[in-house]
Symmetry: C2
Subunit: 477 residues, 2 copies
Amino acid sequence: VVLTQQRYPVTRLPFSVVSSEDLAAFERILPGGVVTDPEVLEASNVDWLRTVRGCSKVLLRPRTSQEVARILRYCHEKNLAVNPQGGNTGMVGGSVPVFDEIILSTTLMNRVISFNSVSGTLVCQAGCVLEELSRYVEERGFVMPLDLGAKGSCHIGGNVATNAGGLRFLRYGSLHGTVLGLEVVLADGTVLDCLTSLRKDNTGYDLKQLFIGSEGTLGVITAVSIQCPPKPRAVNVAFLGCPGFAEVLQTFSSGKELLGEILSAYEFMDAECMWLVTHHLRLASPVQESPFYVLVETSGSRAGHDSEKLSDFLEQALSSGLVTDGTVATDQTRLKALWALRERISEALSRDGYVYKYDLSLPTERLYDLVSDLRARLGSQAKHVVGYGHLGDGNLHLNVTSEAFSPSLLADLEPYVYEWTARQRGSVSAEHGLGFKKRGVLSYSKPPEALRLMQQLKALLDPKGILNPYKTLPAQA
Amino acid sequence: VVLTQQRYPVTRLPFSVVSSEDLAAFERILPGGVVTDPEVLEASNVDWLRTVRGCSKVLLRPRTSQEVARILRYCHEKNLAVNPQGGNTGMVGGSVPVFDEIILSTTLMNRVISFNSVSGTLVCQAGCVLEELSRYVEERGFVMPLDLGAKGSCHIGGNVATNAGGLRFLRYGSLHGTVLGLEVVLADGTVLDCLTSLRKDNTGYDLKQLFIGSEGTLGVITAVSIQCPPKPRAVNVAFLGCPGFAEVLQTFSSGKELLGEILSAYEFMDAECMWLVTHHLRLASPVQESPFYVLVETSGSRAGHDSEKLSDFLEQALSSGLVTDGTVATDQTRLKALWALRERISEALSRDGYVYKYDLSLPTERLYDLVSDLRARLGSQAKHVVGYGHLGDGNLHLNVTSEAFSPSLLADLEPYVYEWTARQRGSVSAEHGLGFKKRGVLSYSKPPEALRLMQQLKALLDPKGILNPYKTLPAQA
């Protein structure tokens, strides 16, 4: 992987360089928690998509918030830049250093602090892996309010820092609503304890909101308090084929009406996505070939009621021609197999060649027009132009593949995709964040007044700019 | 009503005094929208609880965000203090001036800007009355995600500015999750347009969150974009008598289990609340006398399924002795009558004498202990010590009445109630906010580091402090 500083036009800011004196100081703060082994560092310097690469010489693994506080106090004083890192599963190069920033990993901060089995409130350290938390709360009759493909590696602290969306957003909403409290260490080492477990608290400004989605640029999240909903007693998944995108939308309306409060996911993918997962991953399509496919999930408290609602919905969808073929799963194994068709598209894409990734919010009725537009625009330059995503949330994952990275293809994609999105008042990053790779496109979705206020907030909370530099906000002119 | 500046130890900050030159300037910005008639001003100077009173000499009624921007730009330049005012239904004196602040009313900003009848996204000006918005969206098959007793007067802008909780919080969650976008005018007149209608947008910091719950001290909300859930096709209300508070809690657990996703409200009130509404308001209790009462609401998409769930729940609650008597309503009239028993407690209290009001978040298992504690502590000093509220959210409304205001009773209540709450890591203002009357108690629920950051945010966004002064944050030392 090419070094980020070689591929991208970016200049190192005048931070200090880590000295042996600094390493000795870190060793005093974190005995045994200072890693300088180049082989270990390699994995933390490169993002999982293998598109960006830093050259950090040191990785720190604190176990407590107090250790994080002491590290940041030291770095702040010495003007050392810090790259907070969770599971390193981000899509936009936000979780790895750009130059030689110190990597501050939450890997060893993986303790559950408390769980209230009546209210479902989980309090845990930031480095807990999402899938492990899921297992923990499911054993106790609850579920995590978020789920995403990267669950096996991503950390809850990183999820909150990036305001992760994912597969349960339609049902349980945004982390801005489900996160009850945070503990955050500020750039100067101050520990900000907003780790409440209360559902309601209107005493002053809701400070935790500032850090949700700030991608580690305003503070380091060290602990999270989150509201877990009760585990649904019945889960059904229907996988359906639709003859056109208009039918995908109408099926969604019908699902909202007939499934009501038990509708928990409405995902879509086009025929090219199905081609990719069947060819590259050897998955089998469970339904007849169709231009579009949708995955409908219901989650409810009473199996009999849920299946009645679901069969009424399916009957109407089939008899009205909105859906041409379909299958339903209720047991865990088949349910996971159907979800895999949708969840593994990203993996199939990466086997297809170089991938240009876009994560957009658009008005649902225009959502697929961009895919069709681009397919015509790019012609044979692209191997595949595919659209899939969280239709229920208006969130399109638009991906284009080519044999190898091509500057001319890129020039046909950008700024075209961003301008198209901006004309619809859409978002150029629905759930992936901006990180390093998208920080230049913020202004397609936000006015100059908003950008100015973001820069003022950054200056207030991190006046030396040591926290995750070169990320989220555009480079200052 | 005694002037606030006479009853409370508060000193006017060195803002300018409105001059006739200023009035002429306002008249140029808002032809016909400048009110100086003392009779009209009277209603805007006094809060609806009739406990605080300002002496503002001018009320401004803009119709557009641009007018608000021009007013604030002028006031900022001239160092004139401004009190933003919506429906003036707040509980903590946040919506009226303390001294002679200019009252900036959203009354004429009452236009619906757009409604998407597929997605349920409503965009409207800040001065729309909540009940009118409810009617508007219900005619189109949706409901507002919040509802509260003051709906007939409160403005959506004020709801958002105070992060109002209310009766649907259990089901639809906080405004931090349901508000999609805001337009805000900053202290210097800058219009911050974050009025998106997208469900997901991770382009930079989520600035709108700063203003939700900031009580008009960081900016003036001029327009709101909010996600409305589909209107439930079936609504049921059960009103039940419980033999003790332990049974109130167990009935809640049972309701969560058996009603699942259709449980939309779980409210409780004690026997003294029932006494107040039956005696002062002549309402009739629909069930036998009990130490506690609960109101359980279900909202769902299918009447048959919902009533099956509800009857199973009721059967279990009655047969296990958790509930000793109960009644169920499905038609609008009876449903409203049952809700009135709970919603009108506040009104009944105000007829009982002077009311000391507390709005606390507490761990549910300890929630009623404070009421019992206080009843013993106050003895015959108090007429009534009552507890009611949103049990499902851990939110207790604790109210004490006496014949007239009594400093010695107050001294027995405060700081006792706040210290008790702080020991449980509760919130001393769950949903009412701090406004003028509670701004001194913030530190019972927030650490000094949080208070400092709030003050820094205030200084950043409103360096001259002209927006709603003397509110939310404690007076600077």
